[in-house]
């Protein structure tokens, strides 16, 4: 009972934050709304019983990536966006279009895989022994070691590329 209340609470915050993200005019308000979305997602992971994923979600997305977003907005001192009046076609077709698209995606997802609709609170709690962290570690460093390492190298290359681009001397 308590878990369902918590789920609805955080789900509502999550959706509310996402809508606010789009509606806000000032970039820093949008960025902070995105932080709210990230943190409430972490709470939802926690409710599923995936405590490691939840914690990492907060540390990586809310704590690192979004801080950089906010940092950049602060540095560039970006002001409130100017808004156009918007086209009438977008106003008329936009709402129903989004509803239709979301409905189609949900229908596809729930019908393509029967197990998805049956996820319940706490379903990620391990039943075979070893906690969540151990399971994630086993997957990453045993079963999917090669993809994991390749991804790391890809990210490393991206970092090096950023450094090269940033330090290029203008002649």
């Amino acid at each position: 009972m308590l878990h369902e209340i918590l789920f609805l609470f955080f789900a509502a915050i999550c959706v509310g934050g996402a809508i606010n993200l789009v509606l806000q005019r000032h970039p820093i308000n949008s960025a902070l709304s995105l932080v709210v979305v990230m943190v409430s997602l972490a709470a939802l992971y926690l409710l599923l019983g995936a405590e490691f994923v939840g914690a990492v979600q907060v540390i990586v997305y809310a704590g690192a990536i979004m801080v950089l977003f906010v940092f950049v907005i602060m540095l560039l001192n970006a002001g409130a966006e100017e808004q156009s009046q918007g086209s009438r076609i977008a106003l008329l077709i936009g709402g129903p279009g989004v509803a239709l698209l979301a409905g189609a995606i949900m229908w596809l997802v729930t019908h393509s895989d029967k197990t998805i609709g049956n996820v319940v609170v706490g379903s990620m709690v391990s039943t075979t022994g070893g906690d969540n962290t151990h399971q994630v570690a086993r997957l990453l460093f045993k079963d999917f070691l090669l993809p994991f390492e390749v991804t790391s190298i890809l990210i490393l290359i991206a970092i090096m590329g950023a450094v090269v681009l940033a330090s290029r001397k203008e002649s």
Partner: protein, 361 residues
């Protein structure tokens, strides 16, 4: 599923007790700091209010509450108010997962209770759900959100000093968070768990006669990195560039007055207590300490908590001592130290530790 009332009551009592003790601790840390710094600089420190100036924190608190709470005209009002709240709340939350001792038998409730506000426990009914605690990760996550308090304070103030201070603070915290996190990995590898309670329990006993089984001995490099990074994370001397008063007035809280300023102040001291708690738990055996015979029953029960507090006190004292001793870094020195020295050292420490752990297994 119904919520057990005893659980709810003990949780509320624990929260109230811990918050009260922490706030008192924060108040008297400021007193201790002024006293010790005073003595280091051949002064007396506060002596007027109460014996030895002991009521000084109370007087400060009254003053903070009674001061006029000014909000400058051109600030971003919502975020200006939100920022100190965020900073204080995040530093309070991170205390929640810290275990202060082993279980304690409470005579009134007739049950045993853990000396910790909460662990993140699994769901009832699932097997192996008794203790899947990720306390350490929770602390890291919550403190990383605390950065927003400082960043937003500087930005919303609409003042160049505040903005520069908060940019420095957030850049510094992001940089040193890496070294801080990596320095803990060595201990985690040796302990094999994220649960703070488990980590402390693996440190019971002795390496050699009279040398306790604390991780400070095999992991002294990690401890050095942790200590440096922790000082930078809490913006204390020698890493207090965000508040360098000769350059930036008061850094990110320049525009704040009254209780809002006090909230930043309390958050900083709470963060100091939190990092001291983590250092104690991970490197200094937490609540373990020698048993003292012939004590009254109550003291024997509380002895672990007393040991824990004593260790935290040592760390707080070192904080103050260093503030009285060292000058401030230059900004480029700070960044170079973090990225070019601490970070590679932390990674090297992890590699060596993991080789040793793998070789032993």
């Amino acid at each position: 599923m119904t919520i057990p009332t005893t659980y709810l009551i003990t949780a509320v009592v624990k929260i109230a007790l811990v918050v009260f003790l922490l706030m008192t601790g924060v108040a008297y840390t400021t007193w201790l700091e002024r006293k010790v710094i005073g003595r280091i600089q051949n002064r007396w420190g506060p002596t007027r209010v109460g014996p030895f100036g002991l009521l000084q924190p109370l007087a400060d608190g009254i003053k903070f509450i009674l001061k006029e709470d000014m909000i400058p005209d051109k600030v971003h009002r919502g975020l200006f108010i939100l920022a100190p709240v965020l900073a204080l709340v995040m530093s309070l939350i991170s205390i929640a997962v810290i275990p202060f001792g082993e279980g304690l038998h409470v005579p009134v409730a007739g049950t045993d209770t853990q000396l910790q506000i909460t662990g993140v426990n699994g769901f009832p009914g699932a097997p192996h759900s008794t203790d899947i605690n990720i306390g350490l990760l929770i602390i890291l996550g919550v403190t990383s959100i605390g950065v927003y308090g400082i960043a937003l304070a500087g930005w919303s103030s609409n003042s160049k000093y505040a903005l520069l201070g908060s940019l420095r603070a957030s850049a510094q915290m992001i940089s040193y968070e890496l070294a801080l996190g990596l320095s803990l990995v060595g201990v985690l590898l040796m302990a094999g768990t994220f649960s703070l309670r488990e980590i402390v329990n693996t440190q019971a006993g002795f390496w050699l006669p009279y040398v306790p089984h604390w991780y400070i001995f095999p992991q002294f490099i990690a401890f050095f990195i942790y200590l440096m990074a922790a000082y930078a994370e809490t913006n204390r001397i020698p890493f207090d560039l965000p508040e360098a008063e000769t350059e930036l007035v008061a850094g990110y809280h320049t525009e704040y007055s009254s209780m809002k300023f006090a909230m930043f102040f309390m958050a900083e001291y709470l963060n100091m207590i939190t990092v001291s708690c983590i250092a104690t738990l991970l490197f200094f055996g937490g609540w373990h300490g020698p048993q003292i015979p012939h004590l009254p029953q109550l003291l024997t029960d509380l002895l672990p908590v007393i040991w824990f507090s004593a260790k935290i006190f040592v760390f707080m004292f070192v904080y103050i001592w260093i503030r009285g001793t060292l000058p401030r870094f230059r900004y480029d020195q700070l960044m170079a130290f973090g990225w070019k020295f601490l970070l590679p050292l932390a990674i090297a420490n992890i590699i060596v530790t993991s080789f040793i752990v793998a070789w032993r297994a």
